[in-house]
Symmetry: C2
Subunit: 395 residues, 2 copies
């Protein structure tokens, strides 16, 4: 019987983390050991806080450290993964960080299970098929329209059929300035390629501010407007969707459980639901959302801005979907996100990506490279060391 014997978290970061909307500047690598096998996963955002939630002292029966619900558990089937996830959510109910922390553990459990069964993870999910996705280049807006134009040209030169521009100055200046950025983006990528705009919740729930931008988005044929509002601002989303016409709304990356994503699907008028397997609690709940969305005519898309381990995990939930086959694909990640893995999901001659055929997620971390980015952490509570960065190699 395979029991989970170790759960280790490794905080990796760029030497200099910049104050820009680039989520590839740090990552939390998760290593799980059960019997002869090792699984790897990744949690999105704020590694230190997720480490704290892994090891924190219990507050009460529904606020336990995440590790307590994982260590010692049997891991032999997909049902075990779901059971362990349910147990984590129940035992750490009042610990808000839990879903982000569970995400990397769930991903590592799938990786480990695939290796144990000697099959790629996608074979264990749904129809077990592996349909290629058309990646869209996901880039940040330039500081100026000229900068945006240059980034669009670079994406075209790199062969992408679709490009998304996000964050940066968009939504923070005038409506006219925003139009200039969208125009520059469209001119750079030409009339045929799909163009998406990501506003990173800049208008919170201000319907009017978002609606003012719609004419320019329609004028330049934008496929979707992403996150005009914070996750959960359902009324603002729904009201904007009612007047956005051909420009569809996209959102949902802030969902940290299945229920939040369902509400976005049911009540926000979305054309696209975007789920990050590194936030929603892993591949298991992300798959639930993918099926829920498909049944309701909302297109499921991954949200991914870090390594190709995270990218692979985010593709698994809709690997067997033939239609709506686009995926987010970060094209200007920091060196950490590139070097953290030995394997990468390269585009094929058709410009598409698909999951590897290797067992598990098929993406091996590059431990030597990871060591160069490893951030040493020590947490001591009441004189007792609760966490010290473990050895990444030769453990």
């Amino acid at each position: 019987m395979a029991r989970i014997e170790a759960v280790d978290f490794f905080y990796l970061a760029m030497p200099d983390v910049l104050d820009i909307g680039d989520g590839s500047q740090d990552l939390l690598l998760v290593r799980l050991q059960a019997g002869a096998h090792v699984g790897w996963g990744e949690c999105e955002a704020s590694p230190l806080v997720s480490i704290a939630s892994l090891v924190c002292p219990m507050s009460h029966s529904a606020c336990k450290p995440v590790r307590d619900s994982v260590l010692g558990q049997t891991l032999e089937t997909a049902d075990d993964i779901r059971r362990i996830g349910d147990s984590v959510r129940e035992s750490s109910l009042d610990l808000l960080q839990t879903d982000h922390t569970l995400s990397g553990i769930d991903i590592a459990m799938w990786d480990l299970l695939g290796k144990r069964l000697d099959v790629p993870v996608y074979r264990l999910i749904g129809e077990g098929s592996n349909h290629p996705k058309t990646p869209y280049a996901s880039v940040l807006f330039g500081d100026t329209p000229a900068g945006t134009y240059a980034k669009g040209q670079a994406a075209v030169d790199a062969g992408y059929a679709a490009v998304k521009f996000g964050w940066g100055p968009y939504g923070r200046g005038s409506v006219a300035a925003d139009r200039d950025h969208v125009q520059a983006a469209r001119e750079a990528i030409g009339p045929e390629r799909a163009l998406m705009i990501d506003t990173g919740t800049v208008w919170r729930e201000d319907l009017a501010a978002a609606a003012q931008r719609l004419p320019a988005l329609r004028e330049f044929g934008v496929t979707w407007l992403e996150e005009p509002f914070v996750s959960g601002a359902l009324e603002s989303y729904r009201a904007l969707a009612a007047q956005s016409g051909a420009v569809k709304l996209a959102g949902g990356e802030g969902s940290h459980n299945v229920h939040m994503a369902r509400q976005m699907i049911d009540h926000a008028g979305l054309g696209f639901i975007q789920i990050d397997a590194g936030r929603i609690g892993g591949i298991t709940p992300a798959r639930d959302v993918a099926c829920y969305a498909r049944a309701r005519g909302v297109t499921y898309v991954n949200h991914t801005f870090t390594s190709h381990l995270a990218l692979a995990a985010s593709l698994v939930p809709f690997a067997d979907f033939e239609t709506g086959a686009i995926c987010e694909y970060p094209v200007e990640p920091k060196s950490l996100a590139v070097e953290a893995t030995l394997d990468h999901l390269e585009r094929d001659i058709n410009g598409q990506v698909r999951l590897p055929e290797r067992p598990g997620l098929g993406i091996r971390p590059d431990l030597l490279a990871c060591e160069r980015y490893l951030v040493d952490v020590e947490i001591v509570v009441a004189g007792r060391p609760l966490y010290r960065t473990p050895a990444l190699r030769g453990a």
Copy 2:
């Protein structure tokens, strides 16, 4: 001009934290300093994780440590509090723990502002009135019906007009065993007093499991069934509400922002929305929810299970509500929650509680007592100490 010069977090805990649903076993005390004044607040659940989110290194522009959006900010008006809260939510958008961490800071900001203006906080909110609330005794179920009966009798002996039983074995055994507990509770408190049942999300989203308990709840005249499902399981809530008859549903304590609470109000068929100011981001968003609920005919009730500092903060959002004037009032808190403050919200001769007339929240921490429960924490990242428990006295 008063600027926030210091934000300090203090982790307090009982020497032995038990594996029971008693949230009074630890707390995170927040101290804010601006000019000549000091404000105190409290965050619910998992102190270590909230400390980590206060001081963690930045991951990217929307994932900054909470402290960065607070230190140095002007704090002179209620608008400043809202502005700082908005800034925290925006700058720490991708840090899941943020709302819990902000909660204690928002509470401390209100306490400080009241002291600065030399008025009780309730005067700064809504109509500025201070209507007394009828407290219901909030206790855990006994391990057996006899234990539940004894707890009910104790609440009656202590003079409470309403009693809520929660957690423990309820919902984890048979329908008949659960009925025995409810019967014991009703028999202990007599036919006149209000009886409420809190199931602590035990059925997750399993409608049938919850519905099976309805006949007994109706039989024994239960006022509300609390948290049959996890926060956000709107469909299960709505379906149960449609068949619960005179037994109303209560829930919402898991809401960590205004949007989640609104969705519970709009889509869950609740009779009562329960908000913890120590989780939802503080008094400011809790007040928004209180007004939203009142406009829609849903009764607002505080959720509180820790100290009387937290209790006072949780009463402020609906202090000016005349109707529906009940409040949760923990009656078997651990010594920490009692001793942590010098002042307490004692019941008056009518058995009611109201906010103090002292400036701020009017609840002074007992620093000597707090020191006895202080848990020493040290967090070191890349050789740099990011957090060391500060001095509680004489700082």
